[in-house]
Assembly symmetry: D2
Homo-oligomer: 403 residues x 4
C-alpha cells in the first residue's frame, strides 16, 4: 500500500462513498477531502456535507460545488455541436460528466495539497477509465485510489457489515441489493444491472424516473421553438435561458411527453457488452433540433465531414478521452463549422416523438429559388449533363477496361 497523505474523494453522500471514506481513513491512514458536485442529478447536497462532517471530515476539507452551468456550457453543449451519438443511440449522458468531475477533483487536490484522488466506480465499468484518464491527463503524478478494485468488500453483506462497524448510517432501502444501479446528471439518468441483465426481457417501467411512458403522455402535442447561436441553444419558446436552465426546461418538456428513453446493449471500453436503460429527455430534443438547424445553416461539405467524424468523436468521449489532443483537435474542427449555426427550430413533442416541423435562419443556405423550376442565376440545368458525364467517366473507363 503506497503512502498517501491526503486524498480527494468524489463523494456523493450515499452509502457506498461513505464506506469508501471510512475505508480510506482506515486503510491509508490519510486525510480525506470530500468533493460533492451538483451536476443536476436531482439530489440535495447539504445532507452530503452533514454526513461528511459526521464521518469526521474537517469543514475546510468539504467541497460542495454547483457545477451545473459549467457542465452544460463547457461539456454538454460542445458535445451536442458534434451531434455525438455512441453506437447509434446513446447520447453519452454519463460519459460527458466524468471529465468535469475529474478536472474539479484535480483542482481541489492542488488547492488542498492532496497527493491522491479517489472515485467510487467499479472495476468492470467505463467510469473508472473516464475518471482516471482525466486525473492522469491533468496531473500525471497523482496517486489514484480505486477502492472497488482494491478492497475485499466485494459483496453487499460485507459492505453493510463494514458500514455498521463504522457507524455509517444506512438507509433502510440500501440494506439489500438495489434492483439496478443508477447514474444521474442534468443530461441523463441511467439504469444498469440486475433486473436489466437479460437483454431479452422488457425493462420494467419502474426503472424510468425522468419521463412518463409514451402511453402516459398527454394526448395533445406540445409545440416548442428553440433558438440557436453558434451551434448552441440559447432560448426556448423565445425565452433566453442560461445553459443549465435551458436544459432543465427541455428536460421538463420532454419528460412530460415521454421523450428520451432508450434501451441499449452497448460495448464497453473495457471489453464486454452491457445493457442499459437511459433517459435523456432534453438531450433528445436538443439533438433533433441541432440537426435541424444545421440542415439549413451548414454546407454539405461541412455536414458530411462532421457526420463521418462523429462516431470517432463519440467513441473518444465514451472511452474517457475528453482530455486528449485528438478530442481537442476534433472539437476545433467541429467548432469551426458552427459559426453560422444560428436560427430557430420548431418542434412538436408528442408521446415519445420529437417531430421537426420547421426551421429558419438569417444564415440559411436553403434557397427556394434554386430548388424550383424557375430560372435562377447560378443553376443551369444543362450543367447537370456535364456534371454527370465527368462523374461517370471513371466508371465508364472501368467498364470498358474490366468488362
Amino acid at each position: 500500500m503506497s503512502d498517501v497523505k491526503k486524498v480527494v474523494l468524489a463523494y456523493s453522500g450515499g452509502l457506498d462513498t461513505s464506506v469508501i471514506l471510512k475505508w480510506l481513513q482506515e486503510t491509508y491512514n490519510c486525510e480525506v477531502v470530500t468533493f460533492t458536485a451538483d451536476l443536476g442529478q436531482g439530489e440535495e447536497l447539504e445532507p452530503a456535507r452533514k454526513k461528511a462532517e459526521m464521518l469526521g471530515i474537517k469543514p475546510q476539507n468539504i467541497y460542495i460545488d454547483d457545477l451545473r452551468e459549467e457542465f452544460v456550457r463547457d461539456y454538454v453543449f460542445p458535445m451536442f455541436r458534434a451531434n455525438a451519438v455512441y453506437e447509434g443511440i446513446y447520447l453519452l449522458g454519463t460519459s460527458i460528466a466524468r471529465p468535469l468531475i475529474a478536472k474539479r477533483q484535480i483542482e481541489i487536490a492542488r488547492e488542498t495539497g492532496a497527493d491522491a484522488v479517489c472515485h467510487g466506480a467499479t472495476g468492470k465499468g467505463n467510469d473508472q477509465v473516464r475518471f482516471e484518464l482525466g486525473y492522469y491527463a491533468l496531473e500525471p503524478h497523482i496517486k489514484v485510489i480505486a477502492p472497488w478494485r482494491e478492497w475485499d468488500l466485494n459483496s453487499r453483506t460485507k459492505l453493510i457489515d463494514f458500514a455498521e462497524k463504522h457507524q455509517i448510517p444506512i438507509a433502510k432501502d440500501k440494506r439489500g441489493e438495489a434492483p439496478f444501479s443508477v447514474d444521474a446528471n442534468l443530461l441523463h439518468i441511467s439504469a444498469e444491472g440486475k433486473v436489466l441483465e437479460d437483454p431479452w426481457e422488457t425493462a420494467p417501467e419502474y426503472v424510468y424516473s425522468r419521463s412518463v411512458a409514451p402511453e402516459q403522455a398527454p394526448d395533445e402535442p406540445t409545440v416548442v421553438t428553440i433558438d440557436f447561436e453558434k451551434g448552441d441553444p440559447v432560448a426556448v419558446n423565445g425565452q433566453h435561458l442560461s445553459p443549465a436552465a435551458l436544459l432543465t426546461r427541455l428536460n421538463e418538456l420532454a419528460g412530460d411527453n415521454g421523450i428520451g428513453r432508450i434501451d441499449i446493449v452497448e460495448n464497453r471500453f473495457v471489453g464486454m457488452k452491457s445493457r442499459g436503460v437511459y433517459e435523456t429527455p432534453g438531450g433528445t430534443i436538443l439533438l433533433e433540433a441541432h440537426r435541424a438547424i444545421e440542415s439549413i445553416t451548414i454546407d454539405r461539405g461541412a455536414a458530411h465531414l462532421k457526420d463521418e467524424l462523429m462516431p470517432r468523436y463519440a467513441e473518444l468521449i465514451y472511452n474517457g478521452f475528453w482530455w486528449s489532443p485528438e478530442r481537442e483537435m476534433l472539437q476545433a474542427l467541429i467548432d469551426k463549422s458552427q459559426e453560422t449555426v444560428n436560427g430557430t427550430v420548431r418542434l412538436k413533442l408528442y408521446k415519445g416523438n420529437v417531430i421537426v416541423e420547421g426551421r429558419r435562419s438569417h444564415n440559411s443556405l436553403y434557397s427556394e429559388e434554386h430548388v424550383t423550376f424557375e430560372e435562377d442565376t447560378v443553376y443551369d440545368q444543362r450543367d447537370a449533363e456535364g456534371f454527370i458525364k465527368l462523374n461517370a467517366l471513371r466508371l465508364r473507363l472501368l467498364k470498358q477496361a474490366h468488362g
Copy 2:
C-alpha cells in the same frame, strides 16, 4: 441532335412519361421501348401497357416487370446491413431504387438492340445522376436522353399543350400543377416541392399517404418480433416471409402505428438544399431492429468500423454510385461482418415510436456472467488498472512535457 435508333424509356404510364414517349418519337424519330417496373410503388401496371399500346408502342417493345423481390433482396437488404442513413435521418428510399431501374433498362437495351436509354427525372434533382451513373457504369457507350434537360416544355402549360396536341389522355387532376411531387416504391414514398418549399412551414397532413399520423394511431401498442439471418430479416412474428412480403408486412404494421415519417432539409449531390417529407414505415422498424440484433451479435471492433464507414456508404448510394468499385468494396466489408448477425428482436410499435424491448441470439456476445460482479474466468477487475495506466501513459507524458 445525335442519331438514335431505338431508346428504352423508363415509363410509368403517367402523363409526364407519356409526353416524353411522344416527344422521343417526334424528336429523334426513333423506335421506343417502354419499361415499366413494379417496385412496390402501389400502382397497377396494366394501364401502363394499354397506354403504351395506345401511343403506338409495339407489343414486343413493352416491358413490364415485377422487380419487388429483387429490389428488396439485392438492394434494400444489403443497404440495411450497413444501417445506412443519409444526413442523420434519410433512409435512402428513392436512392436505392434507381440502380435497379438503370440496370434493367440497360439489360432491355441489350435485349432489344437499343442504342439509347431515357428517364423522366428533372434537371435539378439527384435522380438524373443516379440513373445516368448507372447507365454509364453498366454500358459505357450508351446514349442517354434526359428530356427535362433538353426540351422546351418547361412549364405545365406547355406540357399540357403538347399532350393535347398528341392526343395523350390527361387525367383531370393532372391539368394543374401538382401541390408536390412524389416518388414511391416498396421502401418509401417521398414528397417534395411546392407546398413544402418553405422549410419553416409545417408539412400539411395530406402529403402523407403511407402512415397515419401518430395522433391517429391506435392507443394500444403493437408488439412484433423480427428474426434475422446473416443480417437480413427473414420472419415477422415467427412467420417466414420472402423479402418483399416481409417489407410489405412491416410497412403495414408501421403505417398503422404512425411510424416512419421524416421532414428533412437535405443536401442534394447537384449542390443545393431541398426539403422533403418522406415515409419509410417498414424501413424505420427494420433499421432499429437491425441495430438491436447487431448490438448482441457483432463485436465492438466490427460495430465501430461499420459506424465510421456508414456515412460514406450512405453518401455513395445517395449520390448514385451504387455501381462503383468503392461501394462494392464497402459492401464486401459490411457483408463480412454479418455472418453471425442471427437472432430475434422484439419491438413495441406505438404512435410513431419503435421501441426495442428485447433481443436474443444463439450467436450472442452478450454475457451476463461478464457484466455482473461474480467471479468470471476471463475478467479480473485488477486488469483494469493496467489497462487504464497504459491508456493514460501517453496523456501523462504529454502533460509532463507540454504542461
Copy 3:
C-alpha cells in the same frame, strides 16, 4: 455569348495567354486586365508587362505581383503541416498554387470593377476546376471565361495562325508542339503530356529541370538541419529565413542532390488517369523533416488522427476545394496539433535520398527513461498484463461465442 465588360486574365506573357488576351478582346469586345504573378516559377515578369502593353493593355490594367512569400507562408506551409500527399506520392505542387491565383484575380476584379475572370487551363485537366472553384467560392456571381473550352483554336496550327494574324510575337521554339507541357512555381515543376504519354516508357532525362539525376549528384552527402516553430520550418542550418527564402534554399540543396523527382500515374478529378513527372526538391526534404519533428513532438492520438484525415485533406486540395468549409475545418484540426511542433531535424541528403539522422525538441515527448528497462515513475511492466487482457476480452468472447 454573354455580355462582358472587363475581364481579369491570368496572364503569363507566353504565347498561349497572349492569344487568349487577343481572343478575349475580339470575342467579347471587352477591356482586359492582365494579372501576372511571381510564384517562384523562375521567369522574369517584366517581359510580361511589355508584352501586355504591346498587345494594347492600359498600364493601369497590368498587374504584376510578387506573391512568393504569401504563397509559401499561407498555402504551402499550412499544407505541409498536414503532411499532405496525394495518392501516396504527389506533393500537390500545382494544386496548391491555384487557390492563391484565383483569390488574387478576384481581388483585382473587385479593384478594377471587372465582371469576369479568365484562365488558360485546358478542358481536360484539374486546373480549370481549381481556378473556377476558387473564383466562384470567393465571388459567386463572377463570369468565368475558359477559352480552351470555348474557342475553336483547338490545334497548334490554328493557334499559331491566330497569333500571326494578330501580330503576337511567336518565339521560334513555340511554333511546333511542345514535347510536354509544364507548370512551375516555387514548390515544384511538373511535366505532362506527349513524350510522357506511354506510362511504360521511361521519362526522358530532359523533362527534368530542377534537379540533377541522382546519378549526377555529388558523391559526398550533404548534412542539413531544419528548425521548426509551430509546425513550420523557420531556419536552415541555423539560419533564419523567410518562408520563400527558406523554400528556395531547400530547393537548391535538394536539387543539387538529385532529390524530389517522381513519376506518377494519377487520377484526375475530371475522371481520367494521367501520367506526370514532377520535381519537388525542397518540398521532399520538408515533408520528411516535418514528419520527423512531429514524431517526437506530437502524441500518438494526434498523429494517427492526422494520418487518417490526410488523404481527405490532400484530395480536397487536389480537387480544388481549398476555399471550402471542409478544408478550413480540417485545417483548424491540423493547426491545433501543431502548437508544440518545435525543434530541429538533422538530415543527410545523398543522391536522391533524404535520410533522417536526428531530431530534438524542447517539447519532445520521447523519453529515454520510459523506453529503457530501468524503473520509471509512470510505467509499471505489470500494467501491461491488464492492458492486454482487457484489449483481448472482446476477442475472447467472440471466439467463445462464434468459435
Copy 4:
C-alpha cells in the same frame, strides 16, 4: 502462481529463451514444448533443436517449422495489398510476423494438449501485446506466461547468473549487454535500444545488416521488373517465384543497392515513443511497385478509399489486432479491390532509391486517348463547365449567404 501442466514456448534457441525454458520448468514445474519457426530470420534452426534436447526437452516436444512460404503468402502479401505503412514510414516488418507465430503456438498447444503458451517479449514493447492478443483471440482460455513481466531476472547480471546456475551455454558475446536488440524475419530486421536511444544521434552503421549503405552501393543502377497477379507479386525479371523466394530475391536486389533503411521514432501501442532503425529491403521495392501497378489498374474511387483506410489497417496490425473482425473486414474490402491488379512494373534501383520507370497492364485504366486533345468518345471538354458549375454551386450559395 497458477497451475500449468504443459506450456508451448516460442523458442529461438538463444540465451534468453533458453533461460525462459529453464525458468518455466523450475517455476511451474511443467512440461515444456519448444516451438522454433523459420520465418526467414537468417539463422540455422538445428542448433535450437540440439539446445532444446540438451535442456531436457523430449524429442516429441520439439517443434521446428519452416513457415517462410506461409508467412509471405498469407501475411506479408495480404498486408502489402493495402500499401500498409505505420506512421508514414514503418512497413510493419515485426508486427506482421507475430500473428503467425501466435497461431502456430496455439495449434501446437492443441496438438500436444498444452494448457499454456509462453513468449519472450519484454514488458514495455508491442510484441507482448501482439503475441497475447493472438493467443487469446484463437484460444480464449489459454494460460499465457510472459516471463519478463513475472520474474525477477530483470538485469543482465541476474540473467547470466541464472543461466550459469542452470548450465545453459552462454556465447561469449552474450555476456555483456547487447548494444541494441534485434528482431528479424524475411521481411525485415529491426534494431532498437541502447545505442539508438538518443534520437538526435545518428544511428551507427554497424546496426545495419541487410543492406549496404547507399554510399557503398554500386555506381550502376539495377533495373528490375515485377509482375503482379491479383495484387500479389509473382515474378521478378520475368521469372516466376514462390512468395518466399520472390521476397528473398527482392531482398538481395534491394540490399545490394542500399534500399530499405529507415530511422524512426514511433508511437508504441503501450503508450510511449521509441526509436527504431529498420531494414526492409525487398518490402520497400514491393511497396513502390504495388502502388505503381495499382496506379493504372484500379479506379480512383477504389484507390482513395484504400488510401483513407490504410492508416487504420496499419494501426490494427501494429497494435496486434490481426485476428480481429475489423482487420478481417478491412481485408475483405482491400482484397475486393485487387482482382484487376495485374501487370508489370519496371523499376530502377540505385543507391537507396527505388525509381518507378514504367508500368503496364492488360487491365490498364490509363488511356492515352482520353488524356490527349484529340476527339474521344467519352470526354467532351464542354462537360467540364457543368461539372465545375455544379461542384461550385454549394460554395457559391455559401458565399452569398454567409459573405
